[in-house]
Amino acid sequence: MRKKRIRLNNETPFDIINVVFMLLLMLLILYPLWYVLIISFNEGRDAARGGIYFWPRMFSTANYLAVFKNGKILQGFFISGSRAIIGTFAAVSFTGMVGYALGHSHLMGRRFYMTLGIITMFFSGGLIPYYMLIRNLGLRNTFWVYIIPAMFNFYNMLIMMTFFRSLPKEMSESAQIDGAGYIGIFFRIVLPLSMPIIATMALFNGVYHWNDYFVAVLYIDSEKLLPIQTILFKIVAESSAANMLTQINLPDVVAQRQITSESVKMATMVITTAPIVMVYPFLQKYFVKGIMIGSIKG
């Protein structure tokens, strides 16, 4: 107790203001999310009456049950999950392997490969020619439109290559003397030493795949292949329209029906966000490092 008081006396007014300010900042970030969470756990029609600030007024898990009973939404989660897992694995392994190959200074044609990639960072054919490419490749309305076009990213390749090149060469060289091939060295020596960059890239790719809604908007017509974000996007667009309807005073019936589903919408969003929110604090120390590597070379 005494110790604490002494420390408090050492704090300047600025320190106290700063600590309180940061507290308010965290509140500003967390409270809106908490609000969403309690609305999602409150009975729908009751939540629509407003006035819920700290705790659900009529606690209910009905909204979540409604989400889990909805086949379309469940299918969306399944697509998103498969996409995140397969897409992340494909992107990190392919981009990483190419980064490993291009990281060798004695690779023949290295200059050509690098130039080929750097040019793509500044020129693109634009949306319409790209759309036609996807269509001509037969990727429209297939699951692979999520995976293959996102398998490689030259910028990420540069970051991974930079990391691989920063590893001490002695280990690879001694393994080579012991008769290991390039592939063996990659899997047995380079990969185990590169977990920070692998984790960073996995997180970035995983978040991209889990959060993306637009690829499906452009290339998918079949309802069965829609990821959860695209389904949500459609729900959000509808509720945005409904909000506008209430604004211009259309019959309450329309608004009423929309408002009851507001809590279900919130429940879906909570479930959509939960996996990432639970994972990222554990990967934090990696991605901070990863961003810095990227900024040094990028």
């Binding site: 809106p32 969403v36 690779l107 490689f152 959060n211």
Partner: protein, 316 residues
């Protein structure tokens, strides 16, 4: 006798072309796969920009349309929507580039002043959290928070700051504000990472000698920390200003609606709408191409400026 042979093995320059190729064939296979991907997904669409100079029809091939030269470009430059679209783009990018750029720096500086390391780490971890929300989810939250009976209106009403609630996204005058604040809320913590890292890289001896000279914390922040991270600030600012014609498509696309379209239609949205939704492929490609060319010129200029100002470039 084994060792010298192994040394020859790791310095392949002395071998013939074919022997070198054979020695590194696994690497070549991987590199070629990467090159193949790049050619298919980045180079094959490139000739497609021809449709910006022709009258492309969906039913025909890419090169079947009649060549019309710069018709679509001149049409774009005289488009009556162009001034409004440009104003929206520059206003939203400008807000992000000014306020949206300064706030993370201030956040990083204040975070640096926190003495309790565990508290500091907690603040930092929570500040990243919104970055991981998708714009679809955040858009849904924002529509709910800004709606007539949503969080923001309720709080403002309770505090007696407003008399009648309004759905913020239905009033075009609030759109830029909503775009800026949602961007700040989502990305401030994330964008501060580089500044926090730069602050950590400032030589601690400078602080020690400043303390001996009797400098207080504000003086140390002002005369050591800020100059110490100035190169980082400069290069990030210059880099971001090259993208002033680009917007956060996902953010704007989720938040826009017909009632705020007047202030929310930015160049990227406009290109998408006229292209995909209205089917004017040639015109849309011409608009996109114009934007790319301007952006590339801006990037080359800002790269030169960065070279002059900080001695470092991001293009090699």
């Amino acid at each position: 006798m084994d060792k010298p042979r192994a040394v020859v093995h790791v310095s392949p320059r002395k071998k013939t072309f074919f022997a070198r190729l054979m020695e590194q064939w696994p690497l070549q296979v991987i590199a070629l796969m990467g090159a193949a991907w790049l050619i298919i997904f980045s180079y094959v669409p490139l000739p497609g920009i021809y449709i910006a100079f022709s009258n492309y029809k969906v039913t025909e091939g890419v090169f079947a349309g009649a060549f019309v030269g710069l018709k679509h470009f001149s049409e774009f430059l005289t488009d009556k929507n162009l001034p409004n679209v440009l104003i929206n783009t520059l206003a939203i990018s400008g807000l992000n580039l000014s306020i949206g750029f300064v706030v993370p720096i201030i956040f990083a500086l204040l975070l640096n002043e926190l003495k309790n390391l565990r508290y500091k780490r907690m603040v930092q971890t929570i500040s990243y959290l919104p970055h991981f929300l998708s714009w679809v989810v955040l858009g849904g939250f924002l529509i709910s928070w800004t709606s007539e009976y949503g969080l923001i209106n309720q709080i403002l009403f309770q505090l007696k700051l407003i008399k009648t609630p309004t759905y913020l996204l239905s009033d075009e005058n609030y759109f830029w504000g909503v775009a800026l604040f949602s961007h700040l809320w989502k990305e401030t913590g994330w964008n501060a990472i580089l500044f926090i890292a730069a602050i950590a890289g400032v030589n601690p001896e400078l602080y020690e000698s400043a303390t001996l000279d009797g400098a207080n914390r504000f003086q140390k922040a002002r005369y050591i920390t800020v100059p110490g991270i100035a190169p980082t600030i400069a290069i990030l600012f210059i880099l971001q200003s090259a993208y002033i014609l680009s917007s956060n498509f996902d953010q704007i696309y989720v938040l826009r609606n017909t009632l705020n379209a007047n202030r929310s239609t930015v160049l990227d949205i406009y290109t998408y709408r006229i292209g995909i939704q209205l089917g004017r492929f040639s015109y849309s490609t011409a608009v996109g191409l114009t934007k790319s060319v301007v952006s590339l010129i801006l990037l080359l200029i800002t790269n030169k400026v960065s070279e002059r100002a900080t001695g470092s470039t991001f293009l090699r």
